[in-house]
């Protein structure tokens, strides 16, 4: 056995390139497995250290008629562990480009004694003036020389100047860059004049309660009764998904992709390792026969080769594991950015690395062992036979009957005689193609879907209003860029879910009679503006809660005073922003909304949005109109699209990487093909073929491989796109996003792949055949 190991090591020493390739394949495999394992461990640790450490509230309630006594009574409730007042106020803030940005200010009772939804004050500047602390991710937006921030709140046309009192890290909030929102913090006393009188928002952490929404809802119901008994009322209960971050759906999606990435990288590494092991082992067949003829046992050969395999894996892992750790750390940093987490840098205990090493080595070892077992068990007679394939299988014979030229039949039979290798190459290439197409399809599907909402919206600009007197806004209609104006109202209501009989809260968006809705947004039913009791629902709500509803069925909606109104189900309306909290409801009014919260503005054809925005903002200022914010379809579209960018990039990057590795695999196979067909190439030369002719034959074979891979990859990409569109759509939007194929990218990619393959074989294959031709021919004669 020692002699066998010595022989193999000596061969590797002579053919160092082959050894390096084997090691690299083992490294890729180890990289794949360890990157998944490490990133799982890292993200779990970061989540625990960041999010769990904030002591998240289980739910929040809004109390009308609030007094300190109400809070004390809630705190004494048997199911309540902690209660803390935390106000939240929306507004806007001037950024360093002197442009208004969305602002959320949290008001806390005591900055030094936070109990729930805790944040860390990382920098505190003493100030005697009014102040806000800025969430660390938003500081880039506010890096102007001044120590003062300029704010504006709903209901006021006046700006407020406050001191920038320091920096906060709030791991619960999304990064400002992603949300384009500045989160800030101050004392409740600072916000007193801006908060509605007698109202308060309370954070509540339960005790001895199961960590489910249902259990928290149960406690919230009891507290609602308790508050009622105190002469106040609970107007809103918000229960976040237990243990979930604000961006949990996006993080879950990316984590899913990351796991898939690791799985693919693992398969890729193993496939590559299998391919390379075959190039190492196949030419050894005759030698194995000779060694056996000399008296070596199958066991001796098996163990000897296995030890060398272990050496390859060990060297491979010494490269792959650090790479896996590094890429996991990079990935984790990315996830930490999405979650606004601080990355925990402490080293893992040694046994964790040991465990990862074990996990990473098992699969390549098993696959390598499989090949070695086959080689070691070969008989002397089989090994010394000059043919390295079976040429008379039924499948080959069948293909031979349906193909007309001998050249094509030769190419086809070559694919079958090295069947495992062809299958591995096809698997590798089709996986890469599938992923690349999927990334591009996802981006295309999401953009097309989002655009379908925003482009279908005939109202390009929406103003969030605090002044609800429509007759004061008549000037908007007179603006040169404005075609028409519609006044919208959104009401908060509750309803009973037919399937579960549970009460859920929702919003009803009321469209005025002159609102011109694009019919393409009505996916079920028809708008009848004369119907006063017609109600439409969001697709997510329709799918999850109203599965069996028929047109005309009753939907009962309850207002906060407990008054029930019955509506007739009339259809489904697609609404980009309506998926939150399970979906909104929609009504078309027979008369104008008396009060309203939004003004939808339709622009004249061809008017660019940026110019119109400036004109509208200026007019609002000149007319002294208070408003909370202005949004437009372009920025909403970009914002929505940007949230998914990491996903497209991750999938496309993975695809590109896999295709590159597949081409590396193709190069290895091409080499092996030329090597093992030395005799045949010589025969063809002797029969009158030039190197170019032989390269063309190889080209034909590899074109078959690439074509099958493209077809398979395309089919797989349709499946992946569909699955991810459904997964992401339901996670983020509450409904499936229609999957589409980006044929432009697909066709360009196919052309480039074919071209790359052509160049690879014409240049590399032809040169290789030419360079070795004399040696090949001498081998024959």
């Amino acid at each position: 056995m020692r002699a066998i190991i010595k022989k193999l090591l000596r061969e590797f020493w002579v053919a160092k390139g082959k050894f390096i390739l084997c090691v690299l394949a083992a490294a890729v495999s180890g990289w794949g497995i360890s990157s998944v394992t490490y990133s799982y461990l890292m993200t779990e640790r970061d989540f625990h250290e960041n999010f769990d450490a904030t002591v998240p509230a289980h739910f929040s309630i809004t109390v009308d008629g609030y007094t300190e006594a109400v809070k004390e009574r809630i705190a004494r409730h048997e199911s309540v562990e902690t209660v803390e007042r935390r106000e939240m106020l929306g507004g806007r803030i001037k950024n360093n480009k002197d442009v208004w940005m969305s602002l959320v200010v949290f008001g806390v009772e005591d900055l030094n004694a936070l109990k729930l939804d805790q944040f860390k004050i990382t920098d505190r500047i003493a100030s005697e003036k009014h102040f806000i602390l800025i969430e660390q991710n938003a500081t880039d937006f506010l890096e102007y020389a001044s120590d003062t921030a300029v704010l504006q709140f709903p209901g006021s046309t006046e700006t407020v100047k406050v001191a920038k009192g320091g920096v906060v890290h709030d791991a619960r909030m999304a990064p400002a860059q992603m949300e384009q929102v500045v989160y800030s913090y101050t004392l409740i006393t600072e916000l007193d004049s801006l908060l509605p009188a007698g109202k308060a928002r309370l954070l509540i952490k339960t005790r001895n309660t199961e960590a489910t929404r249902e259990a928290y809802q149960e406690v919230a119901n009891r507290i609602t009764e308790l508050v009622k008994a105190q002469g106040a009322s609970v107007t809103e209960v918000v229960i976040p998904n237990p243990g979930e971050h604000m961006h949990q759906p996006i993080i879950d999606g990316i984590a899913f992709l990351q796991k898939s990435f690791g799985a693919i990288l693992t398969i890729l590494g193993i496939t590559l390792l299998s391919l390379i092991l075959l190039t190492w082992l196949l030419p050894q067949l005759i030698q194995v026969g000779v060694i056996k003829a000399l008296g070596a046992s199958t066991r001796q050969i098996y163990v000897g080769y296995l030890i060398v395999l272990l050496l390859i894996i060990a060297v491979g892992l010494s490269i792959g594991l650090p790479l896996g750790f590094k890429s996991a750390a990079l990935f984790n940093k990315f996830i930490a950015f999405l979650q606004n987490f601080t990355v925990i840098d402490e080293p893992f205990p040694i046994y964790t690395h040991g465990l990862v090493m074990l996990t990473a080595s098992v699969l390549p070892f098993l696959f390598g062992m499989m090949h070695i077992r086959r080689i070691a068990r070969i008989t002397v007679r089989e090994a010394l036979s000059t043919t390295f394939h079976s040429s008379s299988s039924g499948l080959i014979k069948y293909f031979q009957t349906i193909i007309h030229t001998a050249k094509l039949r030769y190419g086809m039979s070559n694919l079958f005689r090295s069947g495992i290798r062809t299958a591995l190459l096809v698997a590798l290439l089709s996986a890469g193609i599938a992923l690349f197409f999927t990334g591009s399809n996802l981006s295309y599907s999401f953009r097309t879907d989002f655009e379908s909402y925003y482009r279908a919206s005939r109202y390009a600009i929406t103003i969030g209003m605090t002044d609800t007197t429509s007759n004061r806004l008549a000037f908007l209609n007179q603006l040169p860029s404005v075609e028409s104006v519609a006044y919208l109202r959104t009401l908060r209501r509750s309803y009973t879910v037919p399937l579960t009989n549970k009460i859920k809260s929702t919003t009803i968006k009321q469209y005025p009679p002159d609102y011109d809705m694009n019919p393409s947004l009505v996916t079920e039913g028809r708008i009848d503006k004369t119907c006063a009791d017609c109600i439409f629902i969001h697709p997510a709500m329709r799918a999850a809660e109203f599965g069996s509803i028929q047109f005309g069925d009753t939907i009962s909606v309850t207002d906060k005073e407990g008054n029930v109104t019955k509506y007739r189900y009339s259809g489904v309306i697609r609404d980009m922003g309506g998926a939150h909290g399970g979906g909104s409801m929609y009504r078309f009014m027979t008369e104008q909304n008396k009060a309203f919260g939004q003004v939808a503005i339709r622009l004249k054809a061809g008017v660019p949005i940026p110019g119109a925005l400036l004109e509208i903002e200026k007019a609002l200022g000149e007319n002294n109109i208070k408003y909370s914010g202005i949004s437009n379809v372009e920025t909403l579209l970009e914002g929505a699209f940007n949230h998914f960018k990491p996903t497209y990039y991750l999938v496309q990057g993975l695809g590109l990487f896999t295709v590159t590795v597949a081409f590396l695999g193709m190069l290895i196979v091409l080499n092996l093909t030329i090597q093992e067909r030395t005799l045949e190439i010589g025969i063809m030369k002797a029969l009158g073929s030039s190197s170019k002719d032989i390269a063309n034959l190889l080209q034909m074979e590899f074109t078959m491989i690439t074509s099958v891979s493209i077809l398979l990859g395309f089919a797989l990409s349709i499946f992946f796109t569909g699955t991810l569109c459904e997964l992401y759509g339901e996670m983020v939007r509450g409904q499936r996003i229609p999957p589409l194929n980006n044929y432009t990218v697909i066709l360009i990619t196919i052309s480039l792949l074919m071209l790359a393959q052509l160049i690879l074989i014409i240049n590399y294959g032809n040169k290789r055949i030419q360079r070795t031709s004399n040696a090949l021919l001498n081998h024959i004669t």
Partner: protein
């Protein structure tokens, strides 16, 4: 038909320089039935490589079937070889993934000198000529040694070359099968083909009209032996 003048060929091996052909000269006329004899390592395979254009002479003149081989590039040599010479190997060298008929068709498709519509019929005729009409669908691993060699001869004739070169064509066959193969070559010679056979065997039982012996890279034109 074949003329070699002062041809030299040297190989560089790990054991040092090997002068495979030394001022080798040879002349073969159309329709000759030639045997080249020599021991292992004498240079006979190199000579065959030079005649077939598989290898290039370092010096000297090589003219085969009217073409000066030293003046042709690799592609031109391939085309010339396909049309001018049929090669038969000691170990048959049939393509293992193709049937007997397909091996012949493959050779025709590579060269392209036989019109597409005539190829299949020609392949069947050739198999018929070598006595293997009923084995056309068989794969090499389903044929005996003699049958493989006969398919190899049929393949060598695929593009109707005027010269047939055979390297130890019966070196791997029993005496009865060898006689059948030699007879086949004789029939082809009678039909007008120029035959060159290389062998290290005893040639007493062979029929030929010219014989060359090769020793240490030097060719000696022996006396003709009436075929």
């Amino acid at each position: 038909m074949i003329r070699l003048e002062n041809v030299n060929k040297t190989y560089h091996t790990m054991g040092g320089q090997v002068h495979a052909l030394k001022d080798a000269s040879l002349s073969v006329e159309a329709g000759d039935n030639v045997v080249i004899i020599g021991k292992s390592g004498s240079g006979k395979s190199t000579l065959l490589n030079i005649i077939t254009g598989i290898d290039r002479a370092e010096s000297g003149q090589v003219i085969v079937n009217g073409s000066v081989l030293t003046q042709l590039n690799e592609s031109e040599l391939a085309i010339w070889r396909g049309k001018s010479i049929g090669i038969v190997f000691q170990f048959y060298q049939l393509l293992p993934t193709l049937s007997a008929a397909d091996n012949i068709l493959f050779a025709m498709e590579l060269v392209g000198s036989i019109p597409t519509g005539e190829r299949r019929a020609r392949a069947e005729n050739l198999l018929n000529q070598v006595g293997l009409a009923d084995k056309r669908k068989k794969y090499p691993n389903e044929l005996s040694g003699g049958e493989k060699q006969r398919v190899a001869i049929a393949r060598a004739l695929a593009n109707d070359p005027p010269i047939l070169v055979a390297d130890e064509p019966t070196g791997n066959l029993d005496s009865k099968t060898s006689d059948q193969i030699h007879q086949l070559f004789l029939d082809l010679n009678t039909a007008g083909k120029t035959i060159i056979k290389v062998t290290h065997e005893n040639i007493e039982h062979l029929r030929y009209n010219r014989v060359f012996s090769i020793t240490d890279g030097r060719i000696k034109d022996n006396l003709a032996h009436p075929a």
